[in-house]
Symmetry: C2
Subunit: 681 residues, 2 copies
Amino acid sequence: MRGILLVLICLAALPATADEGMWTFDNFPAARVQQEYGVQISPAWLDHVRLSTIRLTNCTASFVSPEGLILTNHHCVESCLAELSTKDKSLVELGFAAASRDEEQRCTGQMADILTGVQNVTDTVSKAVIGLSDIAANNARKKTLTTLEQACEQASAKAKTGKLQCQAVSLYHGGQYFLYKYKRYTDVRLVFAPEADIAAFGGDPDNFQFPRWSLDFSMLRAYENGRPAKTPNFLRIKFNGPNANQAVFVAGHPGSTARELTRSQLEFERDLPLPILLMRASELRGRYIQFGKTNPADDRMVQAPLNGLQNGIKVRRKELDALNDDALLAGKTEAEDKLRAVAHLDPDPWHAIEAATARERVLYLPYTFLEGGAGFISTLFRDARLLVRGADERMKPNTERLREFSDAWLPTIQSELYANVPVYPELEVLTLSFSLERMREWLGPDHPLIRKLLTKESPDALATRLIAETQLDDVKVRERLWGGGKAAVDASLDPMIELARAIDGDARAIRKQMEDEVEAPIAAASARIAAARFKAYGTNSYPDATFTLRLNYGTVQGWVENGTPIEPFTYLGRAFDRATGSPPFKMPDSWLRAKSQLDMHTPFCISTSNDIVGGNSGSPLLDADGEIVGLMFDGNIHSIAGRYWFNAQNNRAIALHPAIIREALDKVYGAKSLLKELNAQ
Amino acid sequence: MRGILLVLICLAALPATADEGMWTFDNFPAARVQQEYGVQISPAWLDHVRLSTIRLTNCTASFVSPEGLILTNHHCVESCLAELSTKDKSLVELGFAAASRDEEQRCTGQMADILTGVQNVTDTVSKAVIGLSDIAANNARKKTLTTLEQACEQASAKAKTGKLQCQAVSLYHGGQYFLYKYKRYTDVRLVFAPEADIAAFGGDPDNFQFPRWSLDFSMLRAYENGRPAKTPNFLRIKFNGPNANQAVFVAGHPGSTARELTRSQLEFERDLPLPILLMRASELRGRYIQFGKTNPADDRMVQAPLNGLQNGIKVRRKELDALNDDALLAGKTEAEDKLRAVAHLDPDPWHAIEAATARERVLYLPYTFLEGGAGFISTLFRDARLLVRGADERMKPNTERLREFSDAWLPTIQSELYANVPVYPELEVLTLSFSLERMREWLGPDHPLIRKLLTKESPDALATRLIAETQLDDVKVRERLWGGGKAAVDASLDPMIELARAIDGDARAIRKQMEDEVEAPIAAASARIAAARFKAYGTNSYPDATFTLRLNYGTVQGWVENGTPIEPFTYLGRAFDRATGSPPFKMPDSWLRAKSQLDMHTPFCISTSNDIVGGNSGSPLLDADGEIVGLMFDGNIHSIAGRYWFNAQNNRAIALHPAIIREALDKVYGAKSLLKELNAQ
């Protein structure tokens, strides 16, 4: 208990210790790394790694050849594999290997972003909100960020660098603002993926576990103008991997952490979002599993959404465990009291946040179901809402729009809407029926919106009718409605469009309440806390993860679990020992056929002390030379609590060892040209 | 916050205030009731009500005629209705009305117990454990209770009263021990039940809600020697019901409360059992719902288990909400510190309980899945375990057995095993597959037992094979194995018997650990706390609910919800207004046909301030004359927190009004002979 408390106080109030920290590239503690590990991380090293590291839609990746070849996780391309599948042929199940570049398959909607530069705009944002009320400041801040993004994109389009994506980023919960500038590749194609049985060997039971044997890698390629992109910045792979205790680095995009949140914000997460999400996700898991038992085609159809859902359940479950540790909350109080004592802030920002979260408790359910979309889980409803809102928002000046419809985001929305991705009506009915039924449960049958939607039809009947009658599954219909703008959308009699239109007023109203009564006061108070923290403790700290590029350091090491030391490497032989013949412990036929050729002593997975979370999937694990010695794909079970704190005792990241990638490409898949491109032969 | 804190401290440390309290009949605060409500509750009143109130398997009921007619809830006979149904004809859906007594249908396994007397045996139990270690005391206590039960049953068999069921009861968590003596009716038959659409009108969305319109009543009849039992003690029904603010009483069997638990015990409930149960139950709910979509027969099959499951989810969800209220835990600490300060106990029993719950956290998962049965949810597995364990236990002397296999319980076990209840193999596979899969998830794929069971087969394949091959669904097979004892069971090659046998050693081992390391120290410490409480505050308090007979008092009243007053009565007309035509808001055809005859002003449900919990379902709501003015069937949503504390502001019980029972029997169902037996005409 005491150890955890100490760690907590450190992270909340003082510079991080041990291998903790998700550092921005411009504030990386190179001196500390030099001192602790005797390794020098130069500005050139940082630039090269930054320009070789890719942000995918929900993951990280890196260039591994000068011809645009990309290394990432299998689970990061699962949605692409599902898109390229049919009811009868699942690429998730079968894997994919392009025999030549001509056979590389476009992943619709997948983009690859490279961070080319950052610009600190904190002063501009601060000046825009001086003297304003919380609500006015919240609105002014958003307008300012949109204006900055717009100016940045316009300037880049005229420069010789070519057009960049400019995204405003808030760090330290409003303590600093930056413009992040990305070079974007919009044509990304699938090159190679192993079968799910080996890529996710151990399945959900083994997820977040170590020792581990999951061949969780895949390869993509960036294209420009229909040809493989020229990518002079790329990372070489050292196929022999790292040694135990060697210093290693992870570059990537951790998605979200909550280490700077206040006690009242953590209590809110513990009491409402986490238990409610767990209940809803568990029920949906049950519906998916039972649906999959109907026949093999349904089972294939359900695998990809089920995998994502089960991963989420495990994460939320361990986050709830973390928040149920009263020592964590006691430590928060202690850290808050300590900063309060030195900062003398009046009015007290922690009290302001507490009042705002009390309001959030009241708004949470209607917000989640109406605006958050939990009441309408359906790809076609998502499209309908994008069309209805997009039509309204695009009529407004850029800075007056909801931020997600600002000009910077419109290409992304359009590419989502125009993607010709298969939609399975049976699954759409399943998820929509489920979500309508739960919305009725949580909001109550006498809620006005429920009375409006479900007076004559059951949730199941309504879902079935909507999915049967909507034409939004036809990409041409979506193109016509998006292209036609407000006039086309207003004239549409499509029942899904009608539903999105019918609830949009209610959804916008609850969102406005949430923004004004919760988001605005929290933004104002958080910025004041961040400023007080900088003043008291300096800027030698790292910000909470925001799916922006970070670098962290650590070593190859295991940990001690219940008194038993866990070694940092696993080997191929044990995977065959654990195979049962039934998924998720089934070795694919390709591996059984190649078994006699394989070296059973090939290292398979690696445990390291790097500080990572979801979003870091696909990150390169680098050595001091800036070369790849592993591919991050998971953390151990203790790493999930890393959302709230970093426990150096047992928080471990899990990487795939490059030797098993070479062994697989060579002896199982015979992928000679890829090996050649990777200089592995 | 302050109000809740005060309530909590009161209930934990001082005599209860307001209408709180689940009083034993021998310690009912008649003087306080006289003072507060001007109503005299005489010893004769108490005896008459006690001898008219029935304990069913999971519910309460009461005799309402001298010929054994029983009034209880519809949801209390749902399992009986399901037993009497077939795949193609669901009595849950259709309801049941015996046209004559010849048509009354036996509910297999249903028993009706009347509490004829209680005997305080605290001294005997205390003497048996003096000077023993916690573990030795725990074992000695159980043996003493079995010995007392056995002697009591043998004595009653020789007395002219006839054989009684004697059950030892611990009150105040070991503060007192009693022998409860019951007259048992083993032949209980179904007389009347309305259709589920009206009995559970509003379904899960309306469950634990008020205002309410659920006709949640049914009728049974006790038989003796093949004829309706003579029951001179019965309760008359006042069909006009009660007035607002009238004093009312509830006699019944509240199942379980946790108001006397320590802070560390509540934290344990909050952190492990509640979230884990909610996740497991939510997933099973999803599987059931999706299974029911296959076809109408599957939908019917799944309704009864789904209803029970959904009720459980709502209860646990609100219990978790209650425990997430940090004020509750802070109040516990305050109350514990206060008693600690006056009692000077050394060693400190609260610390002993904290240490035991720390151990319980470690043992919880294997205990729950292996011994608690969460890994093997299946009626046929339950039967297999009863047969395997019963065979072993019956070889031992009565006092050496696991308590649930002592002579007092053997008739109950035999009647469960010999009940010819339909078992649906599809549902058995569903629940067994689900529970095996979750056991693998929670214990981990490398747990020795998981390796033993699931090395070659997936959970689904194992479940499918076991259910297909076992013959335990044949009542003759079960009779032969139970009758044949250990020799027959040992010789059996039935795969379900083999499974139960294979895991029994592991299950007994984890149970032994739980008993020695958790139950024993908690029992010792709880008894010391109870004694300290009696010494400091007297015995003018009520014990936690233990599914034994209790009486409480209150008034007919609503409450204020978010500033809006809720009236204590609902009326029939609004039920028709709320009907949507789709379940669970569908009025049955019988009611639509009778609509023009019905008085829309008939009172339907009643809200009262009585302190009840699960187990009180079917309890009579009584007036000062000891006559029925309502039938309890639920509480409002705030009543669920009553597991941990009674909040007089908003905790309300919900009863069915007798006028709607008469209106239904008369105008919808034409049940003239029942109305005559009830003196309603």
